[in-house]
């Protein structure tokens, strides 16, 4: 990575020699075995790797749903690798936005209420959170569907709602776990277009996928293998690759 770029842009995600071990019976499984990388504000990254490579573990760590066994994880300049459960919850609600493969919307709530959930746990006043949720939904093109229940929407619309929810707290990083995995190719393209749009507006995006077409839309592709960084490549967004499809 170029020094000029580092000084120009703030590092928002930094992993230093991160290890994550699990105990499976008597054997220690090293799901992550010394991973280091850093991500600048406003960049668009894809994490790729075969199943069992440790990319899910990496995503859980990035999402502050889990803590590394060893090493440091700096999110927005703060070391979050040794935080308590409560403090991690705070980090999730204030600094992170999640988009999941299976949308993970709460079925009993309207999409407006779903979008408000992260603000609810930040203690944002109801009137303000309602307004911000509405804005976020408008931003993803669902401004006219706010009172619908998730099951009244198509898969693409549900994922848009999930993106709105991920954006509503103005996160440092938007984390997406196979965001197009449950969508048909046309809808998938729309969601990826939305990601491009958000990226263009300055969002930092980390996307986990096993689909090279999806990964290709990112600026950078981080390949994980056996719990280690295999290599970092330029993605299609940085330098368009001929024939890339989404």
């Amino acid at each position: 990575m170029n020094d000029a770029v580092v000084t120009e842009r703030e590092i928002v995600v930094a992993m230093r020699d991160v290890e994550r071990h699990y105990l499976m019976g008597d054997t220690v499984v090293r799901a992550l075995d010394g991973i280091s990388f850093q991500i600048e504000r406003g960049s668009y990254w894809a994490i790729m790797g075969p199943s069992g490579s440790g990319k899910s573990t990496l995503l859980n760590l990035l999402g502050c749903l889990d803590r590394p066994t060893r090493g440091a994880y700096l999110l927005g300049g703060e070391d979050v690798s040794r935080l308590s459960d409560d403090a991690l919850s705070d980090v999730r609600s204030k600094k992170l936005g999640f988009v999941f493969q299976s949308f993970q919307l709460i079925q009993q709530l309207s999409i407006l209420e779903n979008t408000e959930v992260p603000l609810f746990y930040q203690g944002v006043a109801p009137a303000i959170s309602r307004e911000r949720a509405r804005q976020a939904l408008t931003r993803v093109g669902l401004g006219d569907r706010v009172s619908h229940r998730p099951n009244e929407l198509s898969g693409g619309q549900q994922q848009r709602a999930a993106v709105a929810r991920a954006l509503v707290n103005q996160p440092i990083v938007l984390l997406a776990d196979e965001p197009t995995g449950n969508l048909d190719s046309k809808t998938a393209r729309e969601i990826l277009d939305l990601f491009d749009e958000l990226h263009a507006q300055g969002s930092t995006i980390i996307l986990v996928t096993h689909d090279p077409g999806v990964a290709n839309r990112a600026e950078w592709v981080l390949r994980v293998l056996d719990g280690k960084v295999d290599r970092v490549e330029r993605g299609g967004r940085a330098r368009p690759v001929a024939g890339a499809t989404a």
Binding site: N60, G63, L65, D66, D85, D86, S89, D90, R92, S93, K94, F98, F100, Q104, L105, I106, Q108, V117, P118, F120, Y121, Q122, G123, A125, P126, R165, N169
Partner: protein
Amino acid sequence: MITAIWRTFHLGLRGVARHGLRSLLTSLGVLFGVASVIAMLAIGEGLSHDVQARIQALGSNNILVRSLKPPESSSAAAERSRLSVYGVTYQDAARMQKTLPNAQIVVPVRAIYQDARYADRRADARIVGTVPWFGETNDFKLESGRFVTEIDLETRAPICVLGATISRELFPLEEPLGKLLKLGTQAFRVVGVMRPRTALTGDDQGTIEDLSRDVYAPLTTVRQYWGEIIVKVSSGSRDMEQVELHQLQVRVADVKKVEATAAVLKEMLEASHKSKKDYEVVVPLSLLRDAEETKKDFNRVLGAIAGISLLIGGIGITNVMLATVTERTREIGIRRALGAKRKHIVSQFLVETVVLAGGGGVLGMALGWLICVLVPTINPKLHPMPTQESYVLSFVISVVVGIVFGLYPAWRAATMDPVEALRHE
């Protein structure tokens, strides 16, 4: 802070409302527990209130000595004489008045059963021969006229005061005051009419005596006209009883000294009656105390029953909440991923159980109230008296049940691994 509490509450309420029927069924245990507590407490309270009212009508400052026909110790002797002599005597009355400490007033009473006749009407009457200060130991009110006076007693005046019922029977249309009526073969002038009045007899059965059939007359007059021997004719045989007084009512000025005085009184009677058990001593205050003890026991048993039913209700809630937590694992995972702390999850589920239990409690209070209203229509003898405390208590208990039995499911929900929870199908 308040908005946070309100929002948590609202969240819990929605969780409950999500499965209306299930929530209702879940809270049934608490509902019936609370309803039965309120209804039973109210019925118990009503019963004990009735008993206490009746005992109080006997006067808590009073000690009653009643003549009692002793058990036939030697039937042969009884056969021979055909005259049984028993009961408290004028001598007893005089001695008590003179020597019994703290005894303020002694009221002797003699009761004779006779026909009362006026014109062509007839009624069974109990003629109560007594003294002017009868009112000191008995709670009664005159409807009209006057009661027996000292002069009546002195002159053995043939006057009487009618109880409400018998007055109505003999004088349905006329004004009884001043009229002459016949008690047995003797003529009496009516000088007063009582208001309706009942009292507990003070025996073990707690029977109520209708005192409204009584006719009150000066003790001296009664003694002069009917003497001491009462002849009872039943199925061809004649039983003769010699009883001087049927009852002695002793009033003690200080309530605190009633029981001590009663003990002295018993000793006095034992000595003078030579251990012949031809009387009984009734201390309304002791009865009252017994009644209160009984009520306490009753409430204790009730508390145990209520405790068991609420325990069962609580276990039901825990059971359903555990299922709910499993069912909503994904939701818990989502909320945790989006920033919910453990305490948020705990309070969300705890509020749900409290709403379930508290809601069951409120419905149970309504049902309990309804039972209290309906019970008298089924059994008119019962007058449930629901107390405010029982409502407050049962509501508080149901909320506590919600918290206690909700803690474990809430803790289970909060300690789930968010990653695992998100993956849950």
